[in-house]
Amino acid sequence: MADSPKISLKNVCKSFGSNHVLKDLSLDIEDGESLVVIGGSGTGKSVMLKCILGLLEPEQGEIFIDGQQVVGLPKSEREKSLRKTGMLFQYAALFDSLPVWENVAFGLIQAHGMNRKDAKDIAIEKLSLVGLGSDMASKSPASLSMGMQKRVGLARAIATNPEIIFFDEPTTGLDPIMGDVIDNLIRDCTRELGASTLTISHDMESAQKIADRIALLYKGSVVWIGPASEIETSGNAYVEQFVKGDVNGPIELDILKP
């Protein structure tokens, strides 16, 4: 099993009514790899993550986690496989009925049965990794700024030291220094903890820092995938346009040109 990918998507299709979001999406994430998915706004990046997590059911295609096909699996089985994953939501999705530390400790207490005191210590330690002091621990998430909420969400995603971690735009809305701290943290998750991570990003600089490989999603499928070092020299017209942030190129924009 050592060579089989940690996560594998095969011809996944997902639509909402007439809006075909994912079209024949295939993608592999190797064990211990950091993959960054880039792509325009609304191309289905978040939907892809939700399909892998089982929050949305694809109409077609298969998704394998550790070699196990997870599409259509009963909820209780799915719960087990989620025990080894962590997820940072694009809009943090913190539980506002719980203080910050309980948000971070949630997985430890509920899914891993840890006692509250030990879980709190770990939560405070994880919060310090994302640059939040212990004075934040007992605050309500609603009283934090968006960037702070995002970092709490990140601490929550990594709190249980999961084998697989998904980050949906981890550095969006952070200042450049904090962005760099978070990039390093994500790197450490793969390098030191050996986790396989899938990060969604718009920020090319941070993508290159985090990624082993980068995939470009366009109109619901992968148009280019390759090592992070080759992104500048890919020779792929889509990638070049995206990296340069050029209006002109093969990527269709629904913008009225003057």
């Binding site: 939700k50 997590l53 089982g54 929050l55 909820k75 719960e79 087990k80 989620l82 025990r83 994953t85 962590g86 997820m87 939501f89 809009y91 999705a93 913190l94 539980f95 506002d96 009925s97 949630f106 997985g107 509920q110 899914a111 929550r156």
Partner: protein
């Protein structure tokens, strides 16, 4: 023209059947999860306070004035054929069998059902329910079970308190303004009261508690589309609770009529 009309009827019927099916599945899932571990004691206790304890003032006020007005009106009616001595009996039977459970159910629907729908609806649209799933926590057991259980248990207790306060209200009006003798009013109240009068009211209350909390959870869970969707969920939770309480009250009365 008439075809459009028929098509509209067909569409509405189909949508109605779909909603009934959807609600039935949700109800089954909720009931099933009442009996499955883990049980979140902390959340359950919090809901006992929310649903039960904090509803005491509203239920108490409602019962007090209902008992008072009941004594007045029944006095008017019964004095027409010189049956004033029946006032205490009719007041206590009217309250325990009918008015305390139904009015408490309606008040709690407005107070608690709406709050549940708004809270869970907000959790849905801000992806907090998705976050629960990714943290290997079953949202039914975490969100629905504590609330529904609290509803089933606390509404009968509220109604019991309401019965007592209502009878006291009737007693006050009867002895202070209608010239009843205090001792014989109390004696008449209890002489003809049967335990099944009280018990049938408590059974109704339990069912109403189930309805109110279930409707709050159901509409909250299925809310979509941001703040507007949450508002709609709240309204629907209250309106559907009202209707279901009134309809099921009739059938429960038939069933519990000895």
């Amino acid at each position: 023209m008439e075809w459009n009309f028929l098509a509209a009827i067909g569409r509405i019927t189909l949508r109605f059947m779909q909603a009934v099916g959807h609600l039935s599945l949700f109800t089954l899932e909720s009931v099933k999860n009442l009996f499955l571990p883990p049980f979140y004691m902390r959340l359950f206790l919090r809901q006992l306070m929310n649903v039960g304890y904090y509803s005491l003032p509203v239920v108490g006020m409602t019962a007090l004035f209902t008992g008072m007005v009941l004594a007045l009106q029944i006095y008017v009616g019964s004095s027409r054929f010189n049956a004033e001595s029946a006032v205490p009996t009719i007041v206590v039977i009217g309250l325990t069998r009918e008015l305390a459970p139904v009015l408490s159910g309606l008040m709690v629907a407005g107070r608690v059902g709406a709050a549940i729908a708004a809270e869970i609806g907000t959790m849905r649209v801000t992806e907090q329910i998705d976050a629960l799933v990714t943290l290997s926590t079953n949202p039914f057991r975490y969100l629905v079970t504590p609330r529904v259980l609290a509803g089933i248990i606390t509404l009968p207790l509220l109604v019991l308190v309401g019965d007592i306060i209502g009878v006291a209200g009737g007693y006050l009006v009867a002895t202070e303004t209608l010239g009843f003798n205090a001792g014989s009013y109390i004696k008449n109240t209890f002489d003809f009261l049967e335990s099944r009068d009280v018990i049938s009211g408590l059974i109704k209350a339990s069912v109403f508690g189930f309805i109110v909390t279930l409707m709050g959870c159901y509409h909250g869970f299925n809310s979509t589309g941001g703040a507007q969707g949450v508002g709609r969920a709240t309204t629907n939770a209250v309106v559907s609770s009202f209707i279901l309480i009134l309809v099921s009250d009739y059938f429960l009365t038939v069933m519990l009529l000895d």
